[in-house]
Symmetry: C2
Subunit: 512 residues, 2 copies
């Protein structure tokens, strides 16, 4: 390895307590420096700049540890610079070597030590217990997402504001587009384009590296504040041509963003926003995109797709979870069972007051959907669309939040996390007892009922045999928690306040 | 006609302003006295009392006016007394003659004059404009029902209270069972039985006339306060055997109650409450019951059936309307279109606070369902199940109302009635414009949008060409009405308060 080819540690180690800022430019530590587990290792090489490196130069590297070998593609970052990014997922000694059709880049090799992660770095999120998620260190991840489709294309002050808002919010996943958006409230040209553009003509043979470098910074900044970046690869709200590129360009684009972003441990892939509105694409196209993700994403990031009118068949193997758009919350438990994987209602309409029905439900209605999802062992997604004098709507632009639901969603998220923390067992909840709004941990340590628009003044609740529980009544909108007197077991008779939007929680005694 | 065989006018002429009381005993006017249109004419005859008149004696009468002939069955009312009831539906001279296997009852004949109805007597309700209802005098009937399944079996003080409550309520239809009810909160023997009963054995060969006379009084009392009596003929909540009688008994029972009650202009028939829970009955049974109604009910009263889990095929010809149990309000418009008849959500859960989920939705949730139905051109049904120290729950026993929804439902009913009154045209609303919560009169004179959980601060509403409208914003829960400034036409841009549970009404100028 040449001294000129530096191993650089990415700057995206988690600094949860720090103010959200864009990631600092990569620094250049000494060769052989240690890399934290689940951080990004970035190898930088000088290589050919003549011709069109995007088309002409192939580069990949294989990373080895004992009997494991993971191969990732490198990418051209402009100015004769090539990069390879890798996330080591196991501590210890790793080695690497490159393959390229450019002699200058071929056969390069090196080694590094993967060391324990910094505090707060829990690794990537993956599916656990069938229907839920956890970090790689086994700590639970209670998915709680929001949406700022086009925040990447807003003024930098707005982007910084978005990060500050997110850091203070309950949201730990952000749906965001990699392509700019053209739609109501989104009728501005982006500051830059993913491909060089002359008039209405895109030069699809070249990636605008500055455009993608900006996403490097955004993803790293999200990682700093513990937010998963749910990257939307294609979408129909487009005036520039990106929704209908030649198939070879689609594929090259996918391999480029996989090479570029997949080593960030907070990346999720969403093949599309509203795939079924993209009339130029066929099922074969979506199948091919899914295969490319499977083949080139060495880190097996979470993968899904989002629809408008025609529900995707989420039972298909490539999806790690269902990232749906639907308002029929009551179907969550059934879908979960049908598909055998986590169900995330990524979009179920947004809190707001715009004219469009998808963007004007009340804050309480938004909160209700989070509870309805949780009570079925599913997850929900937030978005916000309040009219704004500067036309900055959170759902697309980011900025600040105006609505009443985030505080109420935060309350729910804390309840779920607190519950998982009370003892060992499965990390998530499962719908049970033929009640569409009742959930329990599989070991029976916690059960809760969400009463929704119902207001029972009493009830009988069948608790698992052999356990004794305490009970708590929660007003999901007033955000009050009221312990109920006594212990509960068997077919427990409970007196309740008889008010709507309540939730009743049973926790096993001795664990709480 | 003998002097002993009197034509008696029923006492059920409408006296809308009077306090609700049980109908007075039938009086005995002179033979040949005039009968008001749509009132009950009751013929009384002395006849055989030996043997079992219920089984042994057949009696019917044919009523003729010019070229029309309507035949009704008579019924034995005990103590050697036979009755024939008839509702003349057209003014002028009528004649009648009887047929019987008892010589004493055969070949009797007479005549009477049908005269204009008293004020407030608008005749029976039937289907109009395909999906709506009107009285026979063409005045609209905005269906607004409630439920007191077993009020007939409560103490008389409670029954009187029920009538007083109904008279002061918005409800103009009452679902009620002809058989007593055995179920939660309903574990008392009725004061009397429809058939003589010894221990657990019913003598199905004899009708307890006192039992059925009581229903005469209740139906007449409901008529006095302008409430339709939706009589439920069979139901599964039974410990006495009435849910599984021999087929011949079912049929005789149906013919008896048709003979006895069908002349009351406020009678509707519901073949069952939750027919699909009556495991001893087959589709062939229900078909036979429907045929009996069609054959013996000369007045063609409104007919439907109510289900629990398995939706009835309401497209079937015998049903005049769909009287459904369902909470999926958003499907109303589609069902209406599928079945081609009025859709009444007779049961969509009840306002209350009992443990059962069907009986504990909030008053606002109940109100919401009425609005959701109305905005689809459908109708909704109320019920109330608040825990009570004396265990008197409106849904079954009647008594008094405790909930918050009746006043809000009254507000909606007034709006609908006021709207129909503003000018000629179809009496009801039709869902339109691909908006699940928008309705209009077919002539475009009135349109309204129900925003439900949505809270738009602005909107564009496509109004019919060539008309100018005023607009009003209604808070469906706060019960406020706010005229919006200006006139509206074409694609009307409207600023709205941005609060949930609102409704926007456009009324054609010059009509309002």
């Amino acid at each position: 390895m040449n001294r000129r080819d530096l191993i650089k540690l990415s700057s995206c180690a988690v600094a949860a307590a720090s103010a959200p800022v864009f990631a600092a430019p990569p620094t250049s530590p000494e060769p052989g420096a240690a890399v934290s587990r689940w951080d990004v290792l970035e190898l930088t090489f000088a290589g050919p700049s003549a011709g069109n490196p995007f088309l002409d130069v192939s580069l990949s590297a294989t990373f080895r540890q004992i009997n494991r070998a993971l191969t990732v593609e490198g990418f051209y970052d402009g100015n004769g610079t090539y990069k390879i990014r890798f996330m080591p997922d196991a501590p210890g000694a790793w080695s690497w070597s490159t393959t390229s059709n450019a002699p200058q880049l071929h056969g390069r090799s090196g080694a590094f030590q993967c060391v324990a992660p910094a505090a707060g770095n829990r690794g990537p999120v993956s599916v656990r217990d069938g229907y839920h998620f956890s970090y790689a260190d086994s700590s639970p991840y209670v998915e709680c997402g929001t949406t700022c489709y086009a925040w990447a294309f807003q003024p930098e002050t707005t982007q910084r504001q978005t990060l500050a808002t997110l850091a203070a919010s309950p949201f730990n996943k952000l749906r965001m587009c990699l392509f700019p958006k053209w739609y109501q409230h989104n009728h501005k040209e982006p500051p830059q384009y993913p491909f060089p553009r002359s008039g209405d003509v895109n030069d699809y043979s070249i990636f605008n590296t500055a455009y993608f470098q900006h996403f490097d910074r955004l993803i790293a900044a999200l990682l700093q504040i513990n937010v998963q970046a749910d990257l939307i690869l294609f979408h129909p709200y487009d005036k520039w041509g990106y929704q209908a590129m030649p198939a070879a360009v689609d594929d090259r684009y996918l391999r480029y963003v996989i090479a570029r972003f997949s080593a960030y441990r907070n990346v999720w892939w969403s093949l599309a926003n509203e795939f079924d509105l993209m009339k130029s694409k066929t099922t074969a196209d979506w199948d091919r995109y899914a295969r490319i993700l499977g083949e080139y994403d060495a880190f097996d990031r979470l993968r899904s797709i989002h629809y408008s009118h025609y529900q995707y068949e989420y039972a298909r193997g490539w999806c790690t979870h269902a990232g749906i758009q639907d308002s029929r919350m009551q179907l969550g438990a059934q879908w979960r069972s049908d598909w055998g994987k986590p169900v995330v209602f990524d979009e179920c309409r947004y809190e707001g007051n715009i004219a469009s029905r998808w963007g004007n439900i009340s804050g309480d209605a938004m909160t209700r959907r989070f509870w309805q999802a949780a009570a079925q062992g599913c997850y929900c997604g937030h978005g916000e669309t309040y009219l704004d004098p500067d036309d900055i709507l959170w759902w697309s632009h980011g900025g600040v939040l105006h609505g009443s639901s985030p505080a109420k969603i935060a309350f729910l998220r804390r309840l779920l996390e607190e519950t998982i923390a009370i003892g060992p067992g499965p990390i998530g909840f499962t719908n049970f007892a033929d009640d569409p709004m009742a959930a329990r941990r599989a070991n029976g340590s916690v059960l809760f009922y969400y009463f929704d628009e119902h207001q029972p003044a009493e009830g009988t609740f069948a608790l698992p045999d052999g356990k004794t529980y305490t009970a708590e009544y929660i007003d999901t909108l007033a955000l009050t928690r009221t312990p109920l007197p006594g212990d509960y077991s068997g077919n427990a008779q409970v007196k309740l306040p008889g008010t709507p939007w309540g939730s009743l929680w049973f926790r096993e005694k001795g664990l709480a």
